[in-house]
Amino acid sequence: MKRLVILVLVFASWSMVHSQDESGTTSTTPPAFSPVTWERLINAADEPENWLMYSGTLDSQRFSRLNQIDAQNVGNLKLKWSYQISQIDRSESVPLVVNGIMFITEAPSNVVAVDAATGRQFWRYNHDLPDDLRICCGRNNRGVAILGETLFMSTLDAHLVGIDARTGNLLWDSEVANHKAGYSKTAAPLIVKDKVVTGIAGGEYGIRGFLDAYNAETGALHWRTHTIPGPDNPDVRTWSGESWRTGGSASWITGAYDPDLDLVYWGTGNPGPDWNGDVRLGDNLYSDSVLALDGDSGEMSWYFQFTPHDVHDWDAIQVPILADIEFNGEIRKVMMWANRNAFYYTLDRETGEFLVGKPYAKQTWAEGLDENGRPIRVPNTTPTYEGVVVSPSIGGATNWWSPAYSPDTGLFYVNAFDGEQKFFMRDENYEEGEQFTGGGGENVKPNEAYFSAIRALDPKTGDLRWEFPIQPRSTAGILTTAGNLVFSGSVDGYFYALDATTGEELWHISLGAQVHSAPMTYAVDGQQYVTIAAGNVVFTFSLEE
């Protein structure tokens, strides 16, 4: 029997190595997939045929050097294939592509591997979930990370799992936090060297947020940095009483990493309860902030708080974009950030110094920013029992959907919404595992009554260079390419391409369902593809071969 097994294995190996094509000649096409080393991740921009992480590269620019599809020929894009996710939902997934294999996450916490050229399945992994999830905003998963031959995925029951990228087999399953206390996980992790850095959701359940790094091989916790200081940190005084214990400050979108500075950058969410700030007086550090953490230890190097003592649910849950740009005559290492609070910021990412801040969307809550970037508040804009109308809306001027930056045009692209909302405050007691929001919102007008646009900003000044109007609005991420293109989608079900320099519309297609994900691009056998999820279908386009 043992001899038979060996014989079968030998034959299988021989078959794989000596596969023949239809003409009978031995194929020279290499097999799909190859392990993804840390070196490959650092240099991901150099292999634009692959999309190796949630934001494409560690600097999160969402810029691809692929230029086969360009401003001249993008009008000839054709549907290549589509993949139907069985769960009816609005997909928020950004797939990865590794040497011809695409990894797509599905609601609620599943992943499939498909041929990136055909959309046909290799394997799937379905995560077992309990029936007592605590999730505020849908059964979402936004994508996986990869290192070596292992995929890493967040799950709604607040676990992190390691999955074999070749077979879909579960390698390890680590509980990150207790889902019964309101913790959950939706965002794609970020690989930093040999660690899996990953955040947590649950800011509407009175959790105490954190950012974690796990050993990629074993799933063991390596470091944890709380996003709310504890009693051993003087910053805890920015929370009245014991409110820090239930202060939220979740970390539910993917961050960025600078290998030269060895700093991890990650945004934090709203303080809790969201709309009743009376029970958590103070600035509520480090909610609504960007944190710069040491890649090896998680120790905080600096933080910048965009919205001190937020009472409108304006999470700083945006993807940080890193670039080195000329600034007042010298090259500066900067971070670009269009915040949910309607202000755009450019920060020095070595020190956290505030360089630029300017509204990029309608806002009525701040007279402006002071010289340190701190907002100067307009009186009477905090929520009341009767309700007060403020811009931006609860959903924000933008939200978690990814912006993009093109080093070719030097422009930062963001989906912006000039909305408003009536904000209410409510008295509420914390109960573990129950929502702890302290208020809510009412719509003032239908969404159609407001203005929405993709806006291109100059990161040196925050000035608007161009805008492309969206009706009624967009909740999609953005991709930009060396073909001088900007790709995005909108809730009216369109996927479209704009000229990255001028904002001129070049191509669009109606996909028939809300686009709530971000586009990505890759290439197989020299053919460039662009992929976007709309509704629960993943669509892939290319030029005619």
Binding site: D131, F436, T437, G440, N443, N447, I470
Partner: protein, 270 residues
């Protein structure tokens, strides 16, 4: 009676389970009377709604475009036909949507209080004392108001305004009155008017049937259906005012009251 089919034995079972903090799965075909319908229950239900439901459905339970959560104040629920159905939806969620089950350790009493609160948000016509009379309102509708020239009712009438068949299920009397005497305050985007100027300078004007980033759909006064690519036209203007006449100027206060009573009576025969 709005909800029917009572099973007293089930109530006993339910109260028992609520008292012990456990929860009940109600068999699909079974209807149960809500045992928690007092004013205090409604207020407690409202508090729970604010805490657990308002994030998606809005503080006023009128829904939210962004989350896709529906308006719960219309008296009609897509996935429930009775209090027991509502109980079931809250308890079990709606598969394939963002509507999740309420946390399993929530007592049945709390779920029933939520049901009571939601029911209280939709007006029961039997409970509302209106100043006008529906029969007189019918006369105003067909006579001085000439409402049928623009509105359709049970398959008859105009197409220049919302279909008023069963409008009493969608609007409460105060909303109906506001629409008659202050029609510009809240106009649904479907009834905004669009003025489209084509490349040759010709103009098409009509109701906004649909608009998105790249296209427009319009129905003009002659009921022609038009579809435009925004890139193919010279310009377009949007008017968010209502085309409805202000009846405060042409009807007496009592005629308005009668018309409101009539419109509010337009609902599906139960």
């Amino acid at each position: 009676m709005r909800w029917n089919t009572l099973f007293r034995w089930a109530v006993t079972l339910l109260v028992g389970s609520a008292a012990t903090g456990t929860w009940t799965v109600i068999p699909a075909a079974q209807e149960i009377e809500n045992p928690f319908t007092t004013r205090v229950d409604i207020r407690l239900g409202q508090r729970v709604f604010g805490q657990r439901c308002s994030r998606c459905h809005g503080q006023d339970a009128k829904g939210n475009d962004e989350t896709g959560a529906p308006d719960l104040t219309t008296g009609r629920f897509s996935n429930a036909r009775s209090p027991t159905g509502l109980f079931r939806v809250i308890r079990e969620g709606i598969g394939g949507t963002a509507m999740l089950p309420i946390s399993p350790d929530t007592p049945d009493a709390t779920v029933w209080q939520l049901v009571s609160y939601l029911e209280s948000q939709s007006a029961d016509p039997m409970d509302i004392d209106l100043p006008g009379t529906a029969s007189a309102g019918l006369g105003v509708y067909n006579g001085k108001g000439n409402c049928g020239s623009c509105h359709m009712l049970d398959g008859k009438g105009g197409r220049q305004g919302p279909n008023l068949s069963r409008v009493g299920e969608r609007r409460d009397p105060s909303e109906l009155k506001a629409a008659l005497i202050d029609p510009h305050v809240e106009v649904a985007p479907r009834w905004w008017t669009m003025r489209v100027t084509r490349q040759d300078g010709s103009v098409v004007e009509g109701f906004r049937m649909g608009e998105d980033t790249f296209t427009l759909r319009v129905i003009d006064r002659d009921l022609n259906l038009w579809s435009f690519h925004k890139s193919d036209i010279r310009s377009f203007d949007r008017n968010e005012d209502s085309t409805m006449p202000n009846y405060a100027e042409t009807l007496t206060a009592s005629e308005v009251d009668d018309l409101v009573a009539y419109l509010f009576s337009l609902r599906k025969e139960s």
